[in-house]
C-alpha cells in the first residue's frame, strides 16, 4: 500500500506541474502525452530515490546488505497493467462505495481533493478524512495491488463495475450543476471501463454491456442539460444534439456483450438505454423496454426500476392499468413515485396530477430535481 500513496502523490504532483507550466506556456499540443511523460519522469525519480535509499542508505544504516536488483519497467503495457491492478485494489468490497469512488478519482483519474469535494458537494476535510480512512482499511487488510485470480474474477469485477457505474451516475445525475465537471466524471468512468475491455482477462460480456450502457446514456449529455446545468426533459430534448457517434459505439459494445450464458443487469439496462436512443415512440420500443424492466426486477429489485417499469407498462397497456399497478408500489417517501403518478394522471384527471406533482416537489431533495418537477407542473 506504500505504492498506492506514492502513486497518489505522483499523480497530484504531475497535475500541479501541469497547472504551473500550462498556465505560463499554454496547453501543449498533446496534453495526454505530456502528462504521461512528466508522470513517468517523476515516477523514475521516485523509484530511483527509493531504490538508492533501499540499496545504499538503508543497508548502511542497518549495516546489512540488500542487493536485490530494482528494475524500473515504464512500458505503456506495464503502466496499463498497474492501473488495472490499482483499480481492483481500490474497488475492494471492504471499503464503502463512496470511498471507492473518491479513491478512484484521486488515484486513477488524478482529481484534486477540492474537485472531488465539489463533485460530492462537500468539504475538503470530509473528503480527506474519507480517503484517509479508506486507505487505512486497505493497508490494515493488506489488500494486494494485483488482479484477482480467474476463480475470483467475476465477484471482484462486479465490485469494480459497480464503482465505475456509480462514478458515471455521479456525473450523469449529479446534484452539482457544474456541467464540465459532470461530463468529466462520466468520461472518466467510460475510460476506466475501456481499460477493462482492452485487457483480455477483464474483457467479459458484462463489462462490454456496461460500456454500451454508458455510451448510450452519454450520447444525450449535451441535450439533457442546458447551459445553466439544469435538466432538459427527454421529450423536450433537441435530438440534433444527440451524439450519433456514441450511439453507434454503444451498439458496437452491446453486440460484443452478447456472448456467454449469463444475462447481467448491465445487459438489460443497456437494452433499455438502446431503446431510449430511439426518440420516436413505437409499439416495439415500449414492449421491449417493458420486458427488459420485467427481467431486471426479477434479477434485482430497485424502487427506480419498479417505477420505470410501471411507466413502460402505461405505454404498452394504457394509463388506467398502470395507475392501478403504480398505486400498489406504495413508495410514499419517494418523490419519483409521486412524479410518476402525476405523469399518469396528466391526461386523465388534472387536479390529481397537480396534487401528485406538488407532493413530489415537497419530497424532492435537490435543487435540480425540484426544478425538473416544477417544469412538469408548469406544463400542466
Amino acid at each position: 500500500m506504500d505504492g498506492m500513496a506514492a502513486a497518489e502523490d505522483l499523480a497530484s504532483e504531475t497535475f500541479l506541474t501541469a497547472t504551473q507550466t500550462w498556465g505560463l506556456n499554454g496547453i501543449p499540443p498533446n496534453p495526454t502525452a505530456w502528462l504521461y511523460s512528466v508522470a513517468k519522469n517523476k515516477a523514475k525519480n521516485h523509484l530511483q530515490r527509493s531504490h538508492l535509499y533501499k540499496t545504499r542508505i538503508e543497508p548502511a544504516l542497518q549495516d546489512k546488505g540488500d542487493t536485490a536488483a530494482y528494475l524500473i519497467d515504464l512500458s505503456p503495457q506495464n503502466i496499463i497493467d498497474s492501473q488495472l491492478q490499482m483499480m481492483f485494489a481500490i474497488c475492494h468490497p471492504s471499503i464503502s462505495a463512496e470511498a471507492q469512488i473518491g479513491l478512484s478519482l484521486r488515484i486513477l483519474c488524478g482529481f484534486g481533493i477540492e474537485e472531488i469535494a465539489n463533485a460530492f458537494l462537500t468539504g475538503k476535510d470530509t473528503i480527506n478524512k474519507r480517503l484517509f480512512r479508506a486507505k487505512e482499511i486497505l493497508r490494515q487488510g493488506k489488500i494486494p495491488i494485483e488482479l484477482p485470480p480467474p476463480s475470483g474474477m467475476e465477484q471482484r469485477l462486479s465490485s469494480v463495475l459497480t464503482t465505475i457505474y456509480l462514478l458515471f451516475n455521479e456525473g450523469y445525475y449529479s446534484i452539482n450543476q457544474d456541467k464540465t465537471l459532470r461530463k468529466e466524471l462520466c468520461l472518466e468512468a467510460m475510460r476506466l471501463c475501456t481499460m477493462l475491455i482492452e485487457n483480455e482477462s477483464t474483457c467479459l460480456p458484462q463489462v462490454n454491456a456496461l460500456l454500451a450502457l454508458m455510451c448510450f446514456h452519454a450520447s444525450r449529455f449535451e441535450a439533457r442539460l442546458d447551459k445553466d446545468g439544469s435538466i432538459v426533459l427527454y421529450q423536450q430534448q433537441d435530438t440534433s444534439l444527440w451524439n450519433e457517434d456514441l450511439i453507434s459505439r454503444g451498439g458496437y459494445f452491446l453486440r460484443r456483450s452478447a456472448t456467454g450464458s449469463k444475462l447481467s443487469k448491465y445487459h438489460l439496462e443497456a437494452g433499455i438505454a438502446y431503446w431510449n436512443t430511439q426518440h420516436t415512440d413505437s409499439k416495439e420500443k415500449w414492449e421491449s423496454i417493458l420486458q427488459y424492466y420485467n427481467q431486471l426486477l426479477q434479477i434485482e429489485y430497485s424502487p427506480i426500476a419498479a417505477l420505470n417499469r410501471t411507466y413502460a407498462l402505461s405505454k404498452v397497456n394504457g394509463k388506467e392499468e398502470a395507475i392501478v399497478e403504480a398505486r400498489k408500489l406504495e413508495l410514499t417517501d419517494n418523490h419519483f413515485y409521486f412524479a410518476l403518478l402525476g405523469e399518469l394522471y396528466k391526461d386523465i384527471h388534472r387536479p390529481t396530477a397537480i396534487e401528485n406533482f406538488q407532493q413530489a416537489l415537497r419530497l424532492a431533495k435537490t435543487q435540480t430535481e425540484k426544478q425538473a418537477i416544477q417544469k412538469q407542473l408548469d406544463r400542466l
Partner: protein, 110 residues
C-alpha cells in the same frame, strides 16, 4: 401453479405459448416491482416418477388430473396477501388450472 391435463394433451402453439409466457412475466414482474419476489422455477413437461421397489415411469401425472407447471417463492406478510398475488396469476385464465399457496417451512441447508 398447476395445469389441467388437457393442456398436456393439446399443447399450445408456439405463438400461444409466447403470449402465455409474456402474461406470466408481466404478473411475476408486478410482484417483483413490489419487492416481494424471491425466485422461481418452471418445470419441464416431461419427467420421471420413482416408486418403491425401483419402479420408474415416465411422466409425473399418472394418477392425478393436474400437473405442476412451476413454482415461485414470494415474500408476503400473510396468507391473505399471498392469495391476492396468486389471484392475478394468468394461469387461472385456463379452465381446470389452479394455483396453490403454501408457506415455506424449514429448509435443507447444504
Amino acid at each position: 401453479m398447476r395445469l389441467d391435463q388437457a393442456m398436456r394433451e393439446t399443447p399450445p402453439s408456439p405463438e400461444q405459448l409466447q403470449l402465455y409466457m409474456k402474461r406470466y412475466h408481466d404478473w411475476v414482474s408486478g410482484i417483483a416491482a413490489r419487492n416481494k419476489f424471491v425466485g422461481g422455477t418452471a418445470l419441464s413437461m416431461e419427467g420421471k416418477v420413482i416408486k418403491p421397489k425401483n419402479v420408474i415411469t415416465d411422466g409425473p401425472f399418472a394418477e392425478i388430473k393436474e400437473w405442476i407447471a412451476g413454482f415461485i417463492t414470494i415474500k408476503a406478510k400473510d396468507f391473505d396477501e399471498a392469495v391476492s398475488f396468486a389471484k392475478d396469476c394468468p394461469i387461472l385464465h385456463g379452465e381446470g388450472n389452479s394455483v396453490e399457496v403454501r408457506r415455506l417451512s424449514g429448509r435443507h441447508d447444504g
